[in-house]
């Protein structure tokens, strides 16, 4: 038997869930400042969105891709702006380090967008810390596909590129250089 009070409580729960989904969607829709083709949700750096009281202050937890990633500050500013535009009275963005971000946190949609934008997405599978311990450095193999022509004949130009999260490669087929989102 359903009491009127129970129905109201369920309606409240439904509203709260919708509100939570909305808040997450708004915060997650912010484009990455350095790779604006993907959103923070797709990059997987948004850890938690928490409303302290109904339509009250909101706390957001954000994790950096690399410890020194300079984009974190502008991500925080953008999240705050977007939530305020949706009527959130107070926003506090906190940077959390644990558990560490991994390229496995990038969504399939995020990978597709990176590739469409000319950035080879990270290969699947978590990099194993200490891999190659026994045999020295692990050379990056040629399994990385050129985002321009699709060739797998690509080679490493530089292990570091325009941002901390990317390496620079060259396609041996079409000769175009391209960025590769390196696996961590």
């Amino acid at each position: 038997m359903t009491t009127p009070g129970g129905a109201a409580a369920r309606a409240d729960t439904g509203a709260a869930e919708r509100r939570q989904r909305d808040l997450e969607a708004w915060a997650g829709s912010v484009p990455d400042p350095e790779l604006p083709v993907i959103t923070l949700a797709e990059l997987g750096v948004l850890r938690r969105v928490h409303e302290r009281s109904p339509h009250g202050p909101v706390e957001v937890e954000l994790t950096p891709t690399y410890t020194g990633c300079p984009a974190v500050e502008s991500m925080a500013t953008d999240i705050e702006r977007v939530l305020r535009e949706h009527g959130v009275p107070e926003v506090a963005v906190r940077v959390v380090l644990a558990p560490p971000w991994s390229t496995d946190d990038i969504s399939d949609e995020g990978r597709r967008k990176l590739a469409a934008h000319g950035i080879a997405p990270p290969r699947g599978g978590r990099a194993v810390p200490g891999a190659g311990e026994a045999h020295g450095p692990v050379p990056l193999t040629l399994a990385i596909r050129c985002p321009n022509c699709g060739s797998t004949e690509t080679s490493l130009i530089s292990r570091f590129s325009s941002t901390a999260c990317k390496a620079l490669r060259r396609c041996e087929s079409c000769r175009e250089p391209f960025d590769h989102f390196k696996e961590v």
């Binding site: 410890t67 300079p70 380090l97 190659g132 020295g136 450095p137 692990v138 590129s161 901390a164 620079l168």
Partner: protein, 249 residues
């Protein structure tokens, strides 16, 4: 004079925290690497050194923010209040010198962070992957230079020899509460020595047999005793903040 006169009470309390030496290592080496901007032999290395510097700066900032007020800790301490190892403060020298310094440091930091990650230190769990990448990069260059031309080999060997006396300090235990106090420093030394020996063998370099410490007792940097070039590095690093307190852009 303790070199910490300008600090707030919270930042001053950080001076005895066992995480401070690790933060200082990262900040100081980050600055040293930044000195290569505009001087690296090729553009790719310019990016690489700046990227490594950025990772290290991020590590330092995360730790400082946990310990006290980060600008105060970076810019308002005198030489004697810095706890970094002397290896980190050594000037860049030539490219081989910078790469061997990086190899010695990153191989150590990777092993240290791996232990700290196991002990539940949150920054280490994140940064160990960065250290591994830095060490890998430095290893590549050590192999290229050591097993390269007569000139590059001579320079790499000279760097290996001259920086050797700063490596003993890396294994002096840092005492204090928390994960750093639980590190197994002997295991760290063993792992590091194996790693360096293996890399040098492949690079046709000789592992130095000279002492791993100088005339001073190893561990001096951890007590605030630094080598002569460090004061000048700090003067350059802190000049802007001290001349224009609170400046921003």
């Amino acid at each position: 004079m303790t070199g910490s006169e300008g600090l707030s009470a919270r930042s001053a309390a950080a001076l005895s925290d066992p995480l401070l030496p690790l933060a200082d290592d990262s900040l100081v080496l980050s600055h040293r690497l930044g000195e290569w901007a505009g001087h690296a032999p090729v553009l790719e290395e310019e990016l690489a050194l700046a990227n490594i510097a950025l990772d290290l700066l991020g590590q330092a900032r995360a730790l400082y923010a946990e310990l006290g007020e980060e600008d105060e800790l970076a810019f308002l301490r005198e030489e004697r209040a810095f706890r970094n190892c002397q290896l980190a403060e050594q000037p860049g020298g030539d490219f081989a010198h910078t790469m061997v310094r990086q190899l010695y440091f990153s191989a150590w930091q990777e092993l240290l962070y791996a232990q700290l990650a196991e002990l539940g230190q949150p920054l280490a769990a994140k940064a160990v992957k960065e250290s591994e990448y830095h060490r890998d990069h430095a290893e590549h260059w050590t192999l290229r230079l050591g097993d390269g031309t007569e000139e590059s080999h001579a320079r790499a060997q000279r760097a290996a020899d001259s920086l050797w006396r700063f490596t003993g300090e890396l294994f002096e235990p840092i005492a204090g509460p928390g994960p750093v106090g639980e590190v197994d420093w002997d295991a760290l030394r063993t792992g590091w020595t194996e790693r360096i020996t293996r890399t040098f063998e492949r690079a046709t370099l000789t592992v130095p047999e000279s002492p791993q410490e100088g005339a001073w007792k190893a561990g001096a940097g951890r007590q605030g005793i630094h080598t002569e070039p460090f004061g000048r590095m700090l003067a350059e690093m802190q000049h802007l903040h001290r001349s224009h307190p609170g400046a921003s852009w």
